[in-house]
């Protein structure tokens, strides 16, 4: 039970750090925030699947039935899938962040306003 509590606290700390990083305007911190967020998520799935010590999910070669306690293999499979996807996305994000830096000369998203430039002159009927 104490191990569960420890891991739950660790997961919470990771989520808190990722939220802190994600609130920053710097792209680099955003990328790191997404990275910490995905790792916190993986840990959460792992803990939610219960921690079972020293009980690998392996079946005996000549006995097909389950004997005693066994770790749940499904969360591990889920995390493996999520790690692969998360890694690919992280690499994409890093390239995107680098390209943005190369193009804008800054990593401050507050300064990058190319997607939503200041609106032009008001349309007829807008002036009050």
């Amino acid at each position: 039970m104490n191990t569960h509590l420890l891991f739950a606290g660790l997961t919470a700390a990771l989520f808190a750090s990722s939220v802190y990083l994600l609130l920053s305007p710097s792209i680099l911190r955003l990328v790191l925030g997404v990275f910490v967020l995905s790792n916190a998520t993986h840990l959460l799935i792992f803990v939610a699947g219960r921690l079972t010590e020293g009980a690998p999910p392996l079946l005996h070669a000549d006995r097909r039935d389950v004997v005693g306690v066994m770790a749940d293999p499904v969360p591990q499979a889920l995390i493996l899938t999520a790690i692969v996807i998360g890694f690919a996305l992280l690499v994409f994000l890093m390239v995107l962040a680098y390209r943005a830096y190369a193009r804008f000369g800054t990593i401050d998203t507050d300064v990058m306003t190319a997607a939503e430039p200041e609106p032009g002159p008001a349309l007829p009927g807008d002036e009050v």
Binding site: L30, V34, L37, I45, L78, L89, M112, E116, G120, L123
Partner: protein, 497 residues
């Protein structure tokens, strides 16, 4: 056990692989892409016909019995959305040989397009909660590539916003899925929906799940990324996004609220109603504030999602039918409006209404289609947007949700006001003295625009057919017994995947 739900997912993914293999041979790549899209459309329509005539279908991959198998399974709702998504992709890719079309200009467009369509079909057809997340990621990865295609400052900036927001959204989905598994030990939608499996402790997981989906569907406080991202994409790609991405998230909201998180949904219905109403109103206000055609089109996407979610929040047969019918029409109307906006932008230089003018005398087809699409998204009678809103207003008044009804009507009115002003400025008034430099536009965009508008017009004049489809989808969604039965049926002995 039926193989039908597999093909609309598998065909475009195989097509994507073939399109990668033919990267160096543009003609072969175009042929492969169009063939895969045509086959996907055929498969989706076969699936739709099957679900309409003989009820829901399910496929337990690998031949495992239900709680262990990773299942594909759907009813009329998923099949209908798949049957709209596939032909939209085909129609947008059809003029791929025209100069300026991304299928001709960028050789990486075809694999990404096919992966996107495969991912969206996966979202619509999967019956497994974790696979729902995986298909969202497939869609997301493809859309990252598509949004950034062509490069440029604005697209790069838009990609950063879009990527960050959507990655956080999918992380929330994954957290919720982990909690659901930890609590129930299952991710199979059929098992999770079993009566008695409604666990109040899942409320927190449901909240996180809906929060992630709301961010992806661009619901009100979480939707600011959409007007930043879509207007900057290539016009064909923006139309594709408008028709598929937010709609797949809205579908997942409808599906999981009815099937997986039904206990939590009862508590959260008022929240859906309020968020939907706020989004519908926000979309209308955004339309009014937009000074160029592409941002105007982006805000109509936001407003359309709001109207559909109001239908989810009303939680009555009439309300659900109206919401789904609006979702269906939005899948045709908003892509058409994005194409019209692109034609307008190509004509006036940058799509700013102030610099445009005289389109009616120069290009009557585009101007007419733009006007009709505005009527469709605003919900004015002869077009498709009117009938679903009529159902929603009636359902809302029956349920006493006058605030939501007022928001939907006001949002539609503001959209109409903004659209009419846009039409007057860009089409009605005489051309400016110095016409702006015009961009070349892919020839095909005009004919695709005309085709989509014709669909809107015909479906608006004959509302019986789409209405019946939406009503059948709403019935299946609200009474999932038949779907649960096929999902729970064990595959025959010896069946191999």
């Amino acid at each position: 056990m039926s193989w039908l739900p597999l093909w609309p997912v598998l065909v475009p993914l195989l097509g994507a692989a073939a399109a990668v293999a033919t990267l160096e041979r543009p003609r072969a790549q175009r042929a492969v892409t169009l063939l895969a899209l045509a086959l996907q459309t055929l498969a989706a329509w076969t699936l739709l016909a099957r679900t309409l005539l003989a009820g829901p279908v399910a496929l337990h991959l690998g031949g495992w019995p239900p709680p262990f198998a990773i299942s594909l399974g759907t009813d009329v709702l998923g099949a209908a959305l798949c049957g709209l998504a596939a032909p939209l992709g085909l129609l947008l890719a059809l003029p791929g040989g025209a100069p300026g079309h991304p299928l001709r200009a960028h050789r990486t467009f075809a694999p990404l397009l096919l992966a996107l369509l495969g991912g969206v079909a996966g979202v619509f057809l999967t019956a497994d909660l974790f696979n729902l997340y995986v298909w969202f990621e497939v869609t997301l990865i493809a859309s990252f590539g598509l949004l950034a295609l062509g490069g440029g400052r604005a697209r790069l900036d838009a990609s950063v916003t879009y990527a960050m927001l959507n990655l956080v959204g999918t992380a929330l989905l994954l957290v919720a899925i982990g909690l659901v598994y930890g609590r129930t030990g299952s991710l199979d939608m059929g098992t999770l929906a079993e009566p008695g499996a409604t666990d109040p402790a899942l409320l927190g997981a449901a909240l996180l799940f809906f929060l992630g989906l709301a961010a992806k569907a661009a619901l009100f406080p979480l939707g600011f990324w959409l007007p930043a991202a879509y207007p900057n994409a290539n016009p064909v790609i923006a139309a594709l996004f408008a028709g598929l991405l937010t709609k797949s998230a809205a579908y997942a909201l409808f599906r999981t609220s009815g099937l997986v998180f039904s206990a939590a949904t009862d508590t959260l219905l008022g929240g859906f109603l309020a968020l939907g109403a706020a989004t519908a109103l926000f979309g209308g206000i955004g339309c009014l504030a937009a000074t160029d055609a592409r941002r105007f089109a982006a805000f109509t996407v936001v407003g359309g999602i709001g109207v559909a979610i109001v239908g989810l929040g009303l939680d009555s047969p009439l309300g659900t039918t109206g919401g789904l019918a609006y979702l269906f029409q939005s899948m045709v109307a908003t892509p058409a409006l994005f194409l019209a906006a692109a034609c307008l932008a190509a004509d006036s230089g940058d799509g700013a209404f102030l610099r445009a003018g005289g389109l009616w005398t120069r290009d009557r087809l585009v101007a007419g289609c733009f006007g009709l699409c505005v009527l469709a998204v605003a919900g004015v009678p002869p077009l498709t947007g009117f009938w679903p809103k009529l159902l929603l207003v009636r359902a809302g008044l029956e349920a006493g949700a006058t605030g939501a009804v007022a928001a939907v009507l006001l949002g539609g009115f503001l959209t109409l006001l903004a659209g009419a002003r846009a039409f007057a400025l860009a089409c009605w008034r005489p051309a400016p003295a110095e016409p702006a430099a015009t961009d070349p536009l892919p020839h095909g965009a005009r004919s695709v625009l005309a085709g989509l508008t014709a669909v809107l017009l015909v479906a608006g004049l004959l509302p019986e057919l789409p209405g019946r489809l939406a009503s059948a989808a709403a019935d299946d969604l609200r009474a999932p017994a038949a779907l649960l039965e096929v999902l729970a049926a064990a595959p025959p002995e010896g069946a191999s995947g």
